[in-house]
Protein backbone atom coordinates (compact mmCIF):
# COMPACT_ATOMS: atom_id res chain seq x y z
CA UNK A 1 0.00 0.00 0.00
CA UNK A 2 1.42 3.35 -0.92
CA UNK A 3 1.39 6.27 1.41
CA UNK A 4 -1.26 8.00 -0.63
CA UNK A 5 -3.66 5.09 -0.47
CA UNK A 6 -3.03 4.73 3.22
CA UNK A 7 -3.97 8.34 3.80
CA UNK A 8 -7.10 7.89 1.74
CA UNK A 9 -8.09 4.86 3.78
CA UNK A 10 -7.42 6.75 6.97
CA UNK A 11 -9.65 9.56 5.75
CA UNK A 12 -12.48 7.15 4.99
CA UNK A 13 -12.18 5.52 8.39
CA UNK A 14 -12.14 8.92 10.09
CA UNK A 15 -15.19 10.05 8.12
CA UNK A 16 -17.03 6.85 9.02
CA UNK A 17 -16.13 7.41 12.66
CA UNK A 18 -17.56 10.90 12.49
CA UNK A 19 -20.73 9.76 10.76
CA UNK A 20 -21.43 6.76 12.99
CA UNK A 21 -22.51 8.69 16.10
CA UNK A 22 -24.50 11.05 13.92
CA UNK A 23 -26.30 8.20 12.23
CA UNK A 24 -27.27 6.77 15.58
CA UNK A 25 -29.42 9.87 15.98
CA UNK A 26 -31.56 8.73 13.12
CA UNK A 27 -32.50 5.46 14.76
CA UNK A 28 -35.25 5.12 17.27
CA UNK A 29 -34.29 5.21 20.91
CA UNK A 30 -35.84 3.10 23.63
CA UNK A 31 -37.60 4.80 26.49
CA UNK A 32 -35.92 3.85 29.74
CA UNK A 33 -37.66 4.43 32.99
CA UNK A 34 -35.76 5.28 36.13
CA UNK A 35 -38.14 4.13 38.80
CA UNK A 36 -39.39 1.33 36.58
CA UNK A 37 -42.76 2.90 35.82
CA UNK A 38 -44.02 3.16 32.29
CA UNK A 39 -47.47 4.58 32.16
CA UNK A 40 -50.03 3.52 29.63
CA UNK A 41 -53.73 3.32 29.11
CA UNK A 42 -56.12 0.65 27.95
CA UNK A 43 -59.46 1.69 26.47
CA UNK A 44 -62.13 -0.97 26.34
CA UNK A 45 -64.22 0.06 23.37
CA UNK A 46 -66.84 -2.60 24.01
CA UNK A 47 -67.94 -0.62 27.05
CA UNK A 48 -67.78 2.87 25.48
CA UNK A 49 -71.01 4.39 24.21
CA UNK A 50 -69.50 7.74 23.31
CA UNK A 51 -71.38 9.75 25.96
CA UNK A 52 -68.59 12.33 26.01
CA UNK A 53 -68.46 12.84 29.76
CA UNK A 54 -64.71 12.24 29.78
CA UNK A 55 -64.27 14.95 27.14
CA UNK A 56 -66.11 17.63 29.07
CA UNK A 57 -64.37 16.63 32.29
CA UNK A 58 -61.04 16.90 30.49
CA UNK A 59 -61.88 20.36 29.16
CA UNK A 60 -62.76 21.66 32.60
CA UNK A 61 -59.94 20.00 34.48
CA UNK A 62 -57.19 21.04 32.10
CA UNK A 63 -58.37 24.55 31.21
CA UNK A 64 -58.44 23.59 27.53
CA UNK A 65 -58.62 26.61 25.22
CA UNK A 66 -62.25 26.68 24.17
CA UNK A 67 -63.54 28.90 21.39
CA UNK A 68 -66.87 28.93 19.57
CA UNK A 69 -65.13 28.63 16.19
CA UNK A 70 -64.65 24.89 15.78
CA UNK A 71 -61.60 25.34 13.54
CA UNK A 72 -59.51 26.85 16.32
CA UNK A 73 -61.18 25.09 19.22
CA UNK A 74 -58.66 22.91 21.04
CA UNK A 75 -59.05 19.25 21.94
CA UNK A 76 -56.90 17.17 24.22
CA UNK A 77 -59.35 14.31 24.18
CA UNK A 78 -62.02 13.74 21.56
CA UNK A 79 -64.45 11.04 20.68
CA UNK A 80 -64.34 9.86 17.10
CA UNK A 81 -67.21 7.93 15.56
CA UNK A 82 -65.85 5.29 13.25
CA UNK A 83 -67.81 3.16 10.87
CA UNK A 84 -66.69 0.56 8.40
CA UNK A 85 -67.62 1.11 4.80
CA UNK A 86 -69.79 -2.03 4.68
CA UNK A 87 -73.50 -1.35 4.48
CA UNK A 88 -75.42 -1.47 7.79
CA UNK A 89 -72.23 -1.53 9.82
CA UNK A 90 -72.29 -0.34 13.41
CA UNK A 91 -70.78 2.96 14.36
CA UNK A 92 -68.13 2.69 17.05
CA UNK A 93 -67.19 5.49 19.45
CA UNK A 94 -63.45 5.74 20.00
CA UNK A 95 -61.90 8.14 22.51
CA UNK A 96 -58.76 9.58 20.94
CA UNK A 97 -55.97 11.47 22.63
CA UNK A 98 -52.22 11.70 22.65
CA UNK A 99 -50.98 8.14 22.29
CA UNK A 100 -47.76 8.82 24.26
CA UNK A 101 -45.57 7.03 21.77
CA UNK A 102 -42.23 5.52 22.69
CA UNK A 103 -40.85 7.07 19.51
CA UNK A 104 -42.93 10.20 19.20
CA UNK A 105 -42.47 12.12 15.93
CA UNK A 106 -43.48 15.32 17.72
CA UNK A 107 -40.51 14.98 20.06
CA UNK A 108 -38.19 14.14 17.20
CA UNK A 109 -39.08 17.26 15.23
CA UNK A 110 -39.19 19.80 18.06
CA UNK A 111 -36.32 22.25 17.48
CA UNK A 112 -36.08 23.31 21.13
CA UNK A 113 -36.78 20.02 22.91
CA UNK A 114 -39.94 21.55 24.32
CA UNK A 115 -41.68 18.26 23.58
CA UNK A 116 -40.02 15.44 25.42
CA UNK A 117 -40.62 11.97 26.77
CA UNK A 118 -40.47 11.83 30.50
CA UNK A 119 -38.66 8.94 32.13
CA UNK A 120 -41.95 7.22 32.87
CA UNK A 121 -42.97 7.38 29.22
CA UNK A 122 -45.38 10.32 29.36
CA UNK A 123 -44.90 12.69 26.44
CA UNK A 124 -45.00 16.27 27.66
CA UNK A 125 -44.69 19.81 26.32
CA UNK A 126 -42.55 22.28 28.22
CA UNK A 127 -44.78 25.27 27.54
CA UNK A 128 -42.19 27.61 29.02
CA UNK A 129 -39.95 26.69 26.13
CA UNK A 130 -42.29 26.07 23.18
CA UNK A 131 -41.72 28.62 20.41
CA UNK A 132 -45.00 27.88 18.65
CA UNK A 133 -43.57 26.72 15.33
CA UNK A 134 -46.25 23.99 15.06
CA UNK A 135 -43.90 21.48 13.46
CA UNK A 136 -45.08 18.90 16.03
CA UNK A 137 -48.67 19.39 14.90
CA UNK A 138 -47.64 18.66 11.34
CA UNK A 139 -45.65 15.62 12.45
CA UNK A 140 -48.18 14.01 14.79
CA UNK A 141 -50.09 11.23 13.03
CA UNK A 142 -52.92 11.31 15.58
CA UNK A 143 -53.75 15.02 15.45
CA UNK A 144 -53.32 15.01 19.20
CA UNK A 145 -51.98 18.53 19.38
CA UNK A 146 -53.68 21.90 19.25
CA UNK A 147 -52.25 25.38 18.96
CA UNK A 148 -53.73 28.10 21.14
CA UNK A 149 -54.77 30.57 18.49
CA UNK A 150 -55.82 33.40 20.75
CA UNK A 151 -55.85 34.60 24.33
CA UNK A 152 -58.35 32.74 26.48
CA UNK A 153 -59.35 32.95 30.12
CA UNK A 154 -59.36 29.21 30.75
CA UNK A 155 -59.62 29.48 34.52
CA UNK A 156 -62.13 26.68 35.02
CA UNK A 157 -59.62 24.84 37.19
CA UNK A 158 -57.29 27.17 39.12
CA UNK A 159 -55.26 24.21 40.32
CA UNK A 160 -53.79 23.62 36.87
CA UNK A 161 -52.09 26.18 34.61
CA UNK A 162 -53.76 27.03 31.34
CA UNK A 163 -51.90 27.28 28.04
CA UNK A 164 -51.05 30.74 26.73
CA UNK A 165 -51.65 32.13 23.26
CA UNK A 166 -48.92 31.07 20.87
CA UNK A 167 -47.89 27.66 22.16
CA UNK A 168 -49.09 24.11 21.61
CA UNK A 169 -51.02 21.93 24.05
CA UNK A 170 -51.97 18.29 24.14
CA UNK A 171 -53.08 15.49 26.46
CA UNK A 172 -50.46 14.91 29.16
CA UNK A 173 -52.17 12.06 31.01
CA UNK A 174 -53.04 14.74 33.62
CA UNK A 175 -49.42 14.54 34.68
CA UNK A 176 -49.71 16.50 37.93
CA UNK A 177 -52.52 14.23 39.08
CA UNK A 178 -50.47 11.16 38.17
CA UNK A 179 -47.51 12.52 40.09
CA UNK A 180 -49.72 12.94 43.12
CA UNK A 181 -50.92 9.37 42.83
CA UNK A 182 -54.28 10.14 41.28
CA UNK A 183 -55.72 8.85 38.01
CA UNK A 184 -56.15 11.02 34.93
CA UNK A 185 -59.45 12.91 34.92
CA UNK A 186 -60.96 10.97 32.01
CA UNK A 187 -60.26 7.64 33.70
CA UNK A 188 -61.75 8.84 36.96
CA UNK A 189 -64.82 10.36 35.30
CA UNK A 190 -65.84 7.38 33.23
CA UNK A 191 -68.46 5.45 35.18
CA UNK A 192 -68.55 2.59 32.70
CA UNK A 193 -64.94 1.66 33.29
CA UNK A 194 -63.94 2.16 29.69
CA UNK A 195 -60.52 3.52 30.47
CA UNK A 196 -57.88 2.12 32.73
CA UNK A 197 -54.57 3.71 33.45
CA UNK A 198 -51.51 2.25 35.05
CA UNK A 199 -47.99 0.97 34.96
CA UNK A 200 -47.25 -1.14 31.89
CA UNK A 201 -44.06 -2.51 33.42
CA UNK A 202 -45.96 -3.94 36.38
CA UNK A 203 -47.21 -7.42 35.46
CA UNK A 204 -50.02 -7.28 37.98
CA UNK A 205 -51.40 -3.90 37.09
CA UNK A 206 -54.84 -3.68 35.56
CA UNK A 207 -53.52 -2.34 32.28
CA UNK A 208 -51.02 -5.17 31.93
CA UNK A 209 -53.70 -7.77 32.65
CA UNK A 210 -56.05 -6.20 30.13
CA UNK A 211 -53.33 -6.11 27.48
CA UNK A 212 -52.50 -9.77 27.97
CA UNK A 213 -56.14 -10.81 28.31
CA UNK A 214 -57.31 -10.28 24.79
CA UNK A 215 -56.59 -8.81 21.43
CA UNK A 216 -55.46 -5.25 21.96
CA UNK A 217 -54.68 -2.89 19.13
CA UNK A 218 -53.12 0.47 18.88
CA UNK A 219 -54.05 3.13 16.37
CA UNK A 220 -51.76 3.12 13.34
CA UNK A 221 -49.47 0.36 14.52
CA UNK A 222 -48.04 0.37 10.99
CA UNK A 223 -46.05 3.49 11.87
CA UNK A 224 -44.09 1.64 14.58
CA UNK A 225 -44.31 4.51 17.03
CA UNK A 226 -44.82 2.37 20.12
CA UNK A 227 -48.03 4.04 21.25
CA UNK A 228 -48.89 3.42 24.88
CA UNK A 229 -52.65 3.79 24.53
CA UNK A 230 -54.13 0.37 23.76
CA UNK A 231 -57.63 -0.36 22.49
CA UNK A 232 -59.65 -3.46 23.29
CA UNK A 233 -62.19 -4.35 20.67
CA UNK A 234 -60.92 -2.05 17.95
Amino acid sequence: MERRDFLKLGGIVAAAGAVAPASSLLYASKVESKNGNKYGMVIDLTKCDGCGECVSACRTANNVATFPDEKINNHLLRIAHVKSKFPNSQEQAIPLMCMHCDNPPCVHVCPVKASFVRKDGIVLIDKHRCIGCRYCMVACPYKARSFVFKHHEGSSNPEVPKTMHGVVEKCEFCVSRVDHGQLPVCVETCKKGVMSFGNLNDKDSQVSRLITSGRVHRVREDLHLGAKVYYLGL
Binding site: R78, I79, V82, K85, C133
Partner: protein
Protein backbone atom coordinates in the same frame (compact mmCIF):
# COMPACT_ATOMS: atom_id res chain seq x y z
CA UNK B 1 -11.62 42.32 -19.74
CA UNK B 2 -11.92 44.33 -16.55
CA UNK B 3 -15.34 44.75 -14.99
CA UNK B 4 -15.99 48.00 -13.13
CA UNK B 5 -18.60 47.83 -10.41
CA UNK B 6 -20.29 51.05 -9.33
CA UNK B 7 -23.09 52.14 -7.04
CA UNK B 8 -26.37 53.31 -8.45
CA UNK B 9 -27.08 57.00 -8.25
CA UNK B 10 -30.42 56.50 -6.56
CA UNK B 11 -31.71 60.05 -6.67
CA UNK B 12 -34.41 59.77 -9.29
CA UNK B 13 -38.02 60.54 -8.44
CA UNK B 14 -39.05 57.13 -9.70
CA UNK B 15 -36.79 55.44 -7.20
CA UNK B 16 -38.09 57.47 -4.28
CA UNK B 17 -41.65 56.75 -5.38
CA UNK B 18 -40.85 53.05 -5.59
CA UNK B 19 -39.24 53.11 -2.16
CA UNK B 20 -42.25 54.94 -0.72
CA UNK B 21 -44.67 52.38 -2.15
CA UNK B 22 -42.56 49.51 -0.85
CA UNK B 23 -42.32 51.17 2.56
CA UNK B 24 -46.11 51.45 2.75
CA UNK B 25 -46.53 47.78 1.85
CA UNK B 26 -43.87 46.81 4.39
CA UNK B 27 -45.56 48.88 7.10
CA UNK B 28 -48.91 47.25 6.31
CA UNK B 29 -47.27 43.84 6.59
CA UNK B 30 -45.74 44.68 9.93
CA UNK B 31 -49.08 45.96 11.16
CA UNK B 32 -50.70 42.69 10.08
CA UNK B 33 -48.01 40.82 12.00
CA UNK B 34 -48.63 42.96 15.06
CA UNK B 35 -52.35 42.21 14.77
CA UNK B 36 -51.62 38.48 14.70
CA UNK B 37 -49.95 38.69 18.07
CA UNK B 38 -52.24 41.28 19.61
CA UNK B 39 -55.55 39.75 18.51
CA UNK B 40 -54.51 36.16 18.04
CA UNK B 41 -53.44 33.90 15.25
CA UNK B 42 -57.04 33.07 14.42
CA UNK B 43 -56.98 36.04 12.04
CA UNK B 44 -54.75 34.00 9.76
CA UNK B 45 -56.17 31.24 7.63
CA UNK B 46 -54.38 28.66 9.75
CA UNK B 47 -56.22 26.44 12.20
CA UNK B 48 -55.70 23.25 14.13
CA UNK B 49 -56.19 21.18 11.00
CA UNK B 50 -53.83 23.28 8.87
CA UNK B 51 -51.07 24.49 11.19
CA UNK B 52 -48.85 25.68 8.36
CA UNK B 53 -50.14 28.14 5.82
CA UNK B 54 -48.97 30.89 3.54
CA UNK B 55 -46.02 32.13 5.68
CA UNK B 56 -44.33 28.73 5.44
CA UNK B 57 -44.96 28.62 1.69
CA UNK B 58 -43.44 32.11 1.36
CA UNK B 59 -40.50 31.11 3.54
CA UNK B 60 -39.56 27.98 1.60
CA UNK B 61 -40.15 29.85 -1.65
CA UNK B 62 -37.70 32.58 -0.60
CA UNK B 63 -35.15 29.97 0.47
CA UNK B 64 -35.50 28.37 -2.95
CA UNK B 65 -35.00 31.65 -4.77
CA UNK B 66 -32.02 32.34 -2.55
CA UNK B 67 -30.34 28.98 -3.15
CA UNK B 68 -30.92 29.34 -6.89
CA UNK B 69 -29.37 32.79 -7.10
CA UNK B 70 -26.38 31.69 -5.06
CA UNK B 71 -25.66 28.85 -7.46
CA UNK B 72 -25.88 31.35 -10.34
CA UNK B 73 -23.32 33.60 -8.69
CA UNK B 74 -20.94 30.68 -8.58
CA UNK B 75 -21.30 29.95 -12.31
CA UNK B 76 -18.30 32.09 -13.15
CA UNK B 77 -16.09 31.20 -10.20
CA UNK B 78 -16.73 27.48 -9.90
CA UNK B 79 -18.11 26.26 -13.20
CA UNK B 80 -15.82 28.36 -15.36
CA UNK B 81 -18.61 30.27 -17.10
CA UNK B 82 -16.54 33.44 -17.10
CA UNK B 83 -19.09 35.50 -19.02
CA UNK B 84 -21.40 35.54 -16.00
CA UNK B 85 -18.81 37.21 -13.78
CA UNK B 86 -20.61 40.60 -13.91
CA UNK B 87 -23.59 39.04 -12.11
CA UNK B 88 -21.62 37.35 -9.33
CA UNK B 89 -21.92 40.10 -6.74
CA UNK B 90 -25.55 40.90 -7.26
CA UNK B 91 -26.53 37.23 -7.23
CA UNK B 92 -24.89 36.63 -3.84
CA UNK B 93 -26.44 39.81 -2.51
CA UNK B 94 -29.92 38.76 -3.64
CA UNK B 95 -29.32 35.31 -2.15
CA UNK B 96 -28.45 36.76 1.26
CA UNK B 97 -31.43 39.14 1.19
CA UNK B 98 -33.93 36.46 0.23
CA UNK B 99 -32.70 34.25 3.03
CA UNK B 100 -33.18 37.11 5.46
CA UNK B 101 -36.72 37.43 4.06
CA UNK B 102 -37.42 33.76 4.56
CA UNK B 103 -36.07 33.84 8.11
CA UNK B 104 -38.36 36.79 8.84
CA UNK B 105 -41.28 34.87 7.43
CA UNK B 106 -40.53 31.78 9.52
CA UNK B 107 -39.86 33.62 12.76
CA UNK B 108 -42.90 35.88 12.47
CA UNK B 109 -44.94 32.74 11.89
CA UNK B 110 -44.00 31.35 15.30
CA UNK B 111 -46.42 31.70 18.15
CA UNK B 112 -43.67 33.07 20.39
CA UNK B 113 -41.02 34.84 18.29
CA UNK B 114 -39.63 36.40 21.47
CA UNK B 115 -38.15 32.98 22.24
CA UNK B 116 -35.93 33.42 19.18
CA UNK B 117 -32.74 32.28 20.86
CA UNK B 118 -34.06 29.04 22.29
CA UNK B 119 -33.42 26.92 19.16
CA UNK B 120 -29.75 27.78 19.50
CA UNK B 121 -29.66 27.09 23.22
CA UNK B 122 -31.52 23.80 23.21
CA UNK B 123 -30.49 21.82 20.20
CA UNK B 124 -32.40 18.76 19.21
CA UNK B 125 -30.11 16.80 16.88
CA UNK B 126 -33.00 14.73 15.61
CA UNK B 127 -34.98 17.77 14.50
CA UNK B 128 -34.39 18.96 10.97
CA UNK B 129 -35.57 22.40 12.17
CA UNK B 130 -32.65 22.53 14.57
CA UNK B 131 -30.26 21.73 11.75
CA UNK B 132 -31.90 24.31 9.53
CA UNK B 133 -31.45 26.98 12.18
CA UNK B 134 -27.72 26.50 11.84
CA UNK B 135 -27.74 25.96 8.09
CA UNK B 136 -29.69 29.18 7.49
CA UNK B 137 -27.69 31.41 9.77
CA UNK B 138 -24.34 30.07 8.56
CA UNK B 139 -25.62 30.45 5.01
CA UNK B 140 -26.16 34.19 5.50
CA UNK B 141 -22.69 34.37 7.03
CA UNK B 142 -21.12 32.51 4.09
CA UNK B 143 -22.88 34.85 1.66
CA UNK B 144 -21.46 37.86 3.49
CA UNK B 145 -17.92 36.45 3.52
CA UNK B 146 -18.25 35.56 -0.15
CA UNK B 147 -19.40 39.10 -0.94
CA UNK B 148 -16.57 40.54 1.16
CA UNK B 149 -14.03 38.40 -0.72
CA UNK B 150 -15.40 39.70 -4.03
CA UNK B 151 -15.49 43.32 -2.90
CA UNK B 152 -11.98 43.35 -1.51
CA UNK B 153 -10.62 41.52 -4.54
CA UNK B 154 -9.36 38.45 -2.70
CA UNK B 155 -9.30 36.34 -5.82
CA UNK B 156 -7.80 33.29 -4.13
CA UNK B 157 -10.81 33.16 -1.78
CA UNK B 158 -13.48 33.38 -4.41
CA UNK B 159 -13.35 29.88 -5.81
CA UNK B 160 -13.27 28.05 -2.45
CA UNK B 161 -15.98 30.34 -1.11
CA UNK B 162 -18.03 29.68 -4.24
CA UNK B 163 -17.71 25.92 -3.81
CA UNK B 164 -18.62 26.21 -0.13
CA UNK B 165 -21.57 28.41 -1.02
CA UNK B 166 -22.87 25.90 -3.55
CA UNK B 167 -22.56 23.03 -1.09
CA UNK B 168 -24.34 25.12 1.51
CA UNK B 169 -27.07 26.18 -0.90
CA UNK B 170 -27.77 22.57 -1.78
CA UNK B 171 -27.63 21.63 1.90
CA UNK B 172 -29.93 24.44 2.93
CA UNK B 173 -32.50 23.55 0.36
CA UNK B 174 -32.24 19.82 0.94
CA UNK B 175 -32.81 20.62 4.59
CA UNK B 176 -35.88 22.63 3.69
CA UNK B 177 -37.21 19.77 1.62
CA UNK B 178 -36.43 17.36 4.44
CA UNK B 179 -38.70 19.36 6.77
CA UNK B 180 -41.53 17.87 4.77
CA UNK B 181 -39.92 14.72 3.44
CA UNK B 182 -39.24 13.39 6.94
CA UNK B 183 -42.87 13.65 8.08
CA UNK B 184 -43.97 10.05 8.23
CA UNK B 185 -47.46 10.89 9.39
CA UNK B 186 -48.62 12.70 6.28
CA UNK B 187 -48.51 10.66 3.12
CA UNK B 188 -48.42 13.69 0.86
CA UNK B 189 -45.28 14.99 2.57
CA UNK B 190 -43.39 11.78 3.24
CA UNK B 191 -41.09 11.36 0.27
CA UNK B 192 -37.39 10.88 -0.38
CA UNK B 193 -37.87 12.99 -3.49
CA UNK B 194 -38.80 16.10 -1.51
CA UNK B 195 -35.21 17.35 -1.14
CA UNK B 196 -34.13 16.85 -4.79
CA UNK B 197 -37.37 18.41 -6.00
CA UNK B 198 -36.76 21.39 -3.79
CA UNK B 199 -33.19 21.80 -5.01
CA UNK B 200 -34.16 21.67 -8.69
CA UNK B 201 -37.13 23.99 -8.15
CA UNK B 202 -34.69 26.32 -6.42
CA UNK B 203 -32.41 26.28 -9.45
CA UNK B 204 -35.20 27.06 -11.91
CA UNK B 205 -36.91 29.73 -9.81
CA UNK B 206 -33.59 31.30 -8.80
CA UNK B 207 -32.43 31.55 -12.41
CA UNK B 208 -35.77 32.97 -13.48
CA UNK B 209 -35.74 35.54 -10.69
CA UNK B 210 -32.18 36.57 -11.54
CA UNK B 211 -33.17 37.10 -15.17
CA UNK B 212 -36.06 39.33 -14.05
CA UNK B 213 -33.96 41.24 -11.55
CA UNK B 214 -31.00 41.72 -13.89
CA UNK B 215 -32.99 42.92 -16.87
CA UNK B 216 -35.18 45.26 -14.84
CA UNK B 217 -32.32 46.66 -12.74
CA UNK B 218 -30.08 47.28 -15.72
CA UNK B 219 -32.98 48.86 -17.59
CA UNK B 220 -33.99 51.07 -14.65
CA UNK B 221 -30.44 52.28 -14.06
CA UNK B 222 -29.77 52.78 -17.75
CA UNK B 223 -26.80 50.43 -17.89
CA UNK B 224 -25.81 48.28 -20.79
CA UNK B 225 -26.67 44.61 -20.55
CA UNK B 226 -25.56 42.27 -23.30
CA UNK B 227 -28.53 40.26 -24.55
CA UNK B 228 -26.34 37.22 -25.02
CA UNK B 229 -25.79 36.97 -21.26
CA UNK B 230 -29.51 36.81 -20.59
CA UNK B 231 -29.94 34.33 -23.41
CA UNK B 232 -27.16 32.29 -21.80
CA UNK B 233 -29.07 32.23 -18.51
CA UNK B 234 -32.26 31.35 -20.35
CA UNK B 235 -30.46 28.37 -21.88
CA UNK B 236 -29.90 27.11 -18.34
CA UNK B 237 -33.46 27.83 -17.31
CA UNK B 238 -35.04 25.52 -19.91
CA UNK B 239 -33.36 22.31 -18.72
CA UNK B 240 -33.95 23.24 -15.07
CA UNK B 241 -37.68 23.47 -15.73
CA UNK B 242 -37.64 20.07 -17.42
CA UNK B 243 -35.87 18.49 -14.45
CA UNK B 244 -38.42 19.96 -12.03
CA UNK B 245 -41.21 18.70 -14.27
CA UNK B 246 -39.62 15.26 -14.30
CA UNK B 247 -39.36 15.09 -10.52
CA UNK B 248 -42.91 16.33 -10.05
CA UNK B 249 -44.17 13.76 -12.56
CA UNK B 250 -42.35 10.91 -10.83
CA UNK B 251 -43.60 12.03 -7.44
CA UNK B 252 -47.22 12.30 -8.47
CA UNK B 253 -47.25 9.14 -10.57
CA UNK B 254 -45.91 7.15 -7.62
CA UNK B 255 -48.49 8.71 -5.34
CA UNK B 256 -51.31 8.01 -7.76
CA UNK B 257 -50.16 4.41 -8.10
CA UNK B 258 -49.88 3.76 -4.34
CA UNK B 259 -53.32 2.85 -2.96
CA UNK B 260 -52.81 4.68 0.32
CA UNK B 261 -52.14 7.99 -1.41
CA UNK B 262 -54.06 7.61 -4.65
CA UNK B 263 -57.27 9.05 -3.23
CA UNK B 264 -55.86 12.36 -1.95
CA UNK B 265 -53.59 12.65 -4.96
CA UNK B 266 -56.40 12.17 -7.42
CA UNK B 267 -58.42 14.64 -5.39
CA UNK B 268 -55.67 17.22 -5.85
CA UNK B 269 -55.00 16.38 -9.48
CA UNK B 270 -58.50 15.70 -10.81
CA UNK B 271 -60.86 16.96 -8.12
CA UNK B 272 -61.76 20.12 -9.97
CA UNK B 273 -60.99 22.26 -6.94
CA UNK B 274 -58.65 25.18 -6.32
CA UNK B 275 -55.62 22.89 -5.88
CA UNK B 276 -56.34 21.22 -9.22
CA UNK B 277 -56.12 24.62 -10.86
CA UNK B 278 -53.00 25.56 -8.95
CA UNK B 279 -51.41 22.32 -10.08
CA UNK B 280 -52.47 22.13 -13.72
CA UNK B 281 -52.74 25.79 -14.60
CA UNK B 282 -50.20 27.30 -12.20
CA UNK B 283 -47.48 24.71 -12.04
CA UNK B 284 -47.80 22.63 -15.21
CA UNK B 285 -49.20 25.01 -17.83
CA UNK B 286 -47.94 28.45 -16.78
CA UNK B 287 -44.95 27.35 -14.77
CA UNK B 288 -43.56 24.64 -17.02
CA UNK B 289 -45.07 24.08 -20.46
CA UNK B 290 -45.42 27.65 -21.69
CA UNK B 291 -41.93 28.67 -20.48
CA UNK B 292 -40.49 25.54 -22.10
CA UNK B 293 -42.21 26.34 -25.38
CA UNK B 294 -40.83 29.87 -25.20
CA UNK B 295 -37.35 28.85 -24.19
CA UNK B 296 -36.94 26.03 -26.72
CA UNK B 297 -38.68 27.68 -29.64
CA UNK B 298 -36.12 29.15 -32.09
CA UNK B 299 -38.51 32.05 -32.78
CA UNK B 300 -38.68 33.24 -29.18
CA UNK B 301 -35.68 31.82 -27.37
CA UNK B 302 -33.44 34.74 -28.30
CA UNK B 303 -35.91 37.50 -27.59
CA UNK B 304 -35.45 39.28 -24.28
CA UNK B 305 -39.14 40.19 -23.75
CA UNK B 306 -40.16 36.58 -24.34
CA UNK B 307 -37.46 35.34 -21.96
CA UNK B 308 -38.65 37.83 -19.36
CA UNK B 309 -42.20 36.58 -19.80
CA UNK B 310 -41.09 32.97 -19.46
CA UNK B 311 -39.08 33.81 -16.31
CA UNK B 312 -42.06 35.55 -14.76
CA UNK B 313 -44.17 32.46 -15.46
CA UNK B 314 -41.53 30.23 -13.89
CA UNK B 315 -41.35 32.39 -10.77
CA UNK B 316 -45.12 32.18 -10.44
CA UNK B 317 -45.14 28.48 -11.30
CA UNK B 318 -42.62 27.58 -8.61
CA UNK B 319 -44.67 29.49 -6.06
CA UNK B 320 -47.64 27.38 -7.13
CA UNK B 321 -45.44 24.31 -6.66
CA UNK B 322 -44.70 25.46 -3.11
CA UNK B 323 -48.40 25.97 -2.37
CA UNK B 324 -49.28 22.59 -3.82
CA UNK B 325 -46.56 21.09 -1.65
CA UNK B 326 -47.40 22.72 1.68
CA UNK B 327 -51.19 22.81 1.65
CA UNK B 328 -52.67 19.54 0.30
CA UNK B 329 -50.58 17.57 2.78
CA UNK B 330 -52.61 19.21 5.52
CA UNK B 331 -56.09 19.75 4.15
CA UNK B 332 -56.63 15.99 4.14
CA UNK B 333 -57.80 14.46 7.39
CA UNK B 334 -55.22 12.18 8.93
CA UNK B 335 -55.94 8.60 8.13
CA UNK B 336 -56.23 7.13 11.63
CA UNK B 337 -58.40 4.17 10.72
CA UNK B 338 -57.69 3.11 7.14
CA UNK B 339 -60.71 2.07 5.12
CA UNK B 340 -63.10 3.34 7.75
CA UNK B 341 -65.31 6.40 7.87
CA UNK B 342 -64.46 8.69 10.72
CA UNK B 343 -66.23 11.70 12.19
CA UNK B 344 -65.70 13.79 15.31
CA UNK B 345 -66.10 17.34 16.50
CA UNK B 346 -62.42 17.98 15.77
CA UNK B 347 -62.76 17.96 11.98
CA UNK B 348 -61.72 14.33 11.67
CA UNK B 349 -62.58 12.82 8.33
CA UNK B 350 -63.39 16.21 6.86
CA UNK B 351 -61.42 18.00 4.18
CA UNK B 352 -60.68 21.43 5.62
CA UNK B 353 -60.20 24.30 3.24
CA UNK B 354 -57.36 26.65 3.81
CA UNK B 355 -58.80 30.12 3.42
CA UNK B 356 -55.90 32.47 3.10
CA UNK B 357 -56.53 35.64 5.09
CA UNK B 358 -55.76 39.27 4.32
CA UNK B 359 -53.37 39.42 7.28
CA UNK B 360 -51.19 36.63 5.92
CA UNK B 361 -51.09 38.10 2.43
CA UNK B 362 -50.20 41.50 3.86
CA UNK B 363 -47.46 39.93 5.96
CA UNK B 364 -46.02 38.01 3.01
CA UNK B 365 -46.05 41.06 0.73
CA UNK B 366 -44.59 43.14 3.54
CA UNK B 367 -41.66 40.77 3.92
CA UNK B 368 -41.04 40.75 0.16
CA UNK B 369 -41.16 44.56 0.21
CA UNK B 370 -38.59 44.68 2.98
CA UNK B 371 -36.35 42.48 0.84
CA UNK B 372 -36.89 44.80 -2.13
CA UNK B 373 -36.13 47.90 -0.05
CA UNK B 374 -32.93 46.32 1.23
CA UNK B 375 -32.02 45.43 -2.36
CA UNK B 376 -32.41 49.00 -3.58
CA UNK B 377 -30.61 50.46 -0.57
CA UNK B 378 -27.85 47.89 -1.04
CA UNK B 379 -27.38 48.89 -4.68
CA UNK B 380 -27.13 52.51 -3.56
CA UNK B 381 -24.61 51.86 -0.82
CA UNK B 382 -22.40 49.22 -2.38
CA UNK B 383 -20.90 48.80 -5.81
CA UNK B 384 -22.94 45.76 -6.75
CA UNK B 385 -23.78 46.46 -10.36
CA UNK B 386 -21.26 46.45 -13.18
CA UNK B 387 -21.08 49.61 -15.31
CA UNK B 388 -21.88 47.45 -18.25
CA UNK B 389 -22.29 43.74 -18.67
CA UNK B 390 -20.74 42.65 -21.94
CA UNK B 391 -20.30 39.18 -23.27
CA UNK B 392 -16.68 37.98 -23.21
CA UNK B 393 -16.25 37.88 -26.99
CA UNK B 394 -17.79 41.32 -27.43
CA UNK B 395 -14.55 42.78 -28.73
CA UNK B 396 -13.98 39.99 -31.22
Amino acid sequence: MKIYFTKIDGKSKGMYALLAVLAIIAATGMYATYAMFAQGHYITGMNNQIPWGLPIAVAIYCIGLSAGSLVLSALSAVFGQKEFKPFARIAVFVAALLLVGSLLSIILDWGRPDRLMLPFLYLNPRSIFSWNGFLYSSYVFICIVYLWAMFTGRDSWIKPMGILAIIWAVGVHSGTGAIFGFINARELYHSPLASPTFVTAALSSGTALMILILVSTFKATGRFLDNRLIIGLAKLLGPFILVVLYFVTVEYVVRLYTPSTSEPTSFVLFGGNLYTYIFWVGLILLGSIIPCIILFNPMTKNSIPWIMFASLLVVIGVFCERLIFVLPGQIFPLNLFPDMEMTSDFMDGVITWYQVSVAEIAQGLGILSIVAILYIVGLKLFAMLPDEARHLDHEL
